[in-house]
Symmetry: C2
């Protein structure tokens, strides 16, 4: 359309999202491949869904704030409220609920969806990222949580992160809820508010915490640590609901230690944002001083499927984003060298048009042997064609000239080392 | 949030999109793997971008109708016009334009994006699908088109489609434009309208076509076939622009035949919807009587990068959607058997909690050997656990009881054939 050709378009991507050039895509694909291999080795099957979901799916059980302020939601031309999925858990719950009776349990599923959050640009946070989601359905016992933490640990190790460089912090919503209702004697509303405050505890001063906590829970409120033995602790443990939840948590940690996963610790200030957790929750922390933060986490959410019908279904899972993980991999220099080179093995350098025709036949054979072969069809000078291979990151070249066409003998040259050998 | 728990949510996905349960995902992954392997074997590198793009990217060069009526577009909270990408070509053009001077040519790129179209639901067409996009940049000569058609043909063959079951129909925008301007003597506007009419030629009657064509091009208009020799044909070939474009096209077909790709034919009624094509265009057609239709196509679009600056860059590519391709694969029964079973190799059946602990150690070893192993941690009866493996499609089981724990000897059973052997 000629009327537009004078107006120059910007080459920038939409604000807050990423372009994946081949060198970026190779890193992403490397991450996806480790995720996929590890998950499949534990018997998990891949699923996916559209990024478009009915908005009502997020209105019920995610944290309020997320739906109202942080999603991409719009009304389609048919008047439907649509949201670009901000997380995968409601989707997987929907899909499992739809076929609840046909599916076989334990049901082990994983997915690597792209997720969307409407973040304010100034934060510098991304509006689209990828997240591995792993879930197990139909297991009431803590075998589910144990497997989830074992799997999380296996992923970190498969990326080459040492057990001494990360830790798994675990807590229990059941335990926290028991303390809230049976020790602090708070109603559901106050309990929720206090938990949100605890979630921010290390971001505010001790004094601010106490003031705000007393505003919620009354002036008699005294926060006590569940991870340190104290007089209040002992008294609280006298309450059956609290003691049982604490024992369950201790048992999980003990079993993980027994399986050789020794970097698991109880963290009584771990809350996690989503409202749907009902049992044990956990987060994997990077311990490196330059990148000391939560990498990912998950937990049990037995009640979520109730939203779709009358029956509950035990569920436990976690979500691991590509952005935080990449920070950890960069911190420990764990992105492999081969990810940095092109996926193409050989560039066939052609001195003229006749060489291109010959190269095409040679490429056909090499490809049949599983090699990845590009033919330089540019017709440029040989030196320019070699520069092209260097710039693209293709490690090997074969020059095709008159002699090669005649003899059908070729020299394979490694352009990084300069080494040459017959093909 | 208790206030919502009484309202049941629907388990249906958003209108016009698909849920990928593991059995569907395996088919999709199979398609992706053949695409990826074939493209990489030809030296193409994978890239991607966000599905969110500035709306202006589509306002310039796609077919008008697509942008105005068929995209998901909305205004974000920052007042930006955003579109869920309906096609990948504008994105790849944007990315290449952004790094035009740093990239090395020939630049061979591919991507498997999900694309979004706002289709009216009654049509039964999908609103989201996946599409392989392959492009080569920086090649002026028809080596680019030849490679694209060769690659398309290789993909079809790698899926197992026989050369006799599909055909490649090719034409040339350069030829059509030359005929429009130098034979029919139409201006750009009329030329566009007549081309759109030719695109619909086989959907309307001969009479309707002539009436409408004469409305556009004047009462003297007589359509003549470029693929059949006639008096008018011979006369038209006397015009240099027309003859040159036709010779280029003939040469491409001849070279493809020389390379053993013999199912390529000239189709003078092939137009393709997008406005940005400038040279040779092609479509791959399924010849099966039950599925006789275009599967995918592409062409040369040398002018698209001009939108981002002053320089042009030669470009040639195609897009191949998963939906049409799947129809062809189903028509010829080409979805492999192994795609139908679970990705998990073995289910470890555990008679009690002690067996689970033991299974965990065994699984650890088997996984280290590259096997995909699920542990049945349900605590259900052995017969139920075997049913679980059958239902999930896991081909092998190992039952772990008292004896196996003691002897560390295990029997691997194929539950499809009943065959047993020591593990």
């Amino acid at each position: 359309m000629t009327e537009n050709t004078n107006k120059k378009l910007s080459t920038e991507s939409y604000k807050g999202v990423r372009d994946f050039y081949p060198e970026d895509m190779r890193v992403l694909n490397y991450i996806f491949s480790i995720w996929k291999e590890t998950l499949q080795s534990f018997g998990y099957e891949e699923y996916n869904a559209s990024i478009l979901e009915p908005s009502e799916l997020y209105e019920a059980k995610s944290g309020e704030e997320i739906v109202q302020n942080q999603t991409y939601s719009f009304v389609d031309r048919g008047g439907r409220n649509v949201t670009l999925r901000p997380e995968m858990t409601p989707t997987v719950a929907r899909m499992v609920a739809a076929r609840k009776r046909e599916l076989a349990y334990p049901l082990r599923w994983f997915s690597i969806p792209n997720l969307f959050r409407y973040e304010r640009p100034q934060k510098g946070r991304l509006r689209e990222h990828f997240q591995l989601n792993a879930d197990i359905f139909g297991i009431d016992s803590t075998h589910a949580e144990i497997e989830m933490i074992e799997l999380s640990s296996a992923i970190m190790k498969n990326f080459g992160v040492k057990e001494t460089d990360f830790e798994v912090r675990i807590s229990s919503r059941k335990l926290i809820n028991a303390v809230m209702s049976d020790w602090y004697e708070l109603d559901e509303e106050k309990s929720r508010r206090l938990q949100k405050l605890i979630d921010r505890k290390n971001k505010i001063t001790e004094e601010e915490f106490t003031t705000q906590a007393q505003e919620i829970a009354g002036s008699a409120f005294r926060f006590f640590s569940l991870s340190k033995k104290s007089e209040v602790y002992e008294e609280a443990m006298g309450i059956l609901s609290i003691r049982q939840a604490k024992e369950e948590l201790d048992e999980v940690i003990k079993e993980l230690h027994r399986r050789g996963i020794t970097n698991v610790i109880f963290d009584d200030e771990l809350i996690r944002g989503f409202d749907y957790y009902t049992g044990i929750i956990f987060e994997v922390f990077d311990k490196h001083p330059d990148n000391n933060r939560s990498v990912f986490g998950g937990g049990r959410y037995d009640e979520l499927l109730k939203l779709f019908g009358n029956e509950t279904l035990s569920a436990c899972g976690f979500g691991m984003g590509d952005v935080m993980l990449t920070e950890t991999l960069k911190t420990y220099n764990l992105i492999p060298e081969e990810v940095k080179r092109s996926t193409t093995d050989i560039s066939l350098i052609c001195i003229d048009d006749q060489a291109i025709t010959h190269a095409e036949k040679l490429a056909h054979k090499l490809r049949a042997d599983g090699l990845k072969v590009a033919i330089n069809i540019s017709g440029k000078k040989v030196s320019d064609q070699i520069k092209h291979a260097e710039k693209t990151g293709i490690p090997y070249i074969v020059v095709i000239g008159e002699n090669e066409i005649k003899t059908e003998k070729y020299i394979l040259k490694n352009i990084i080392t300069g080494e040459e050998k017959p093909l």
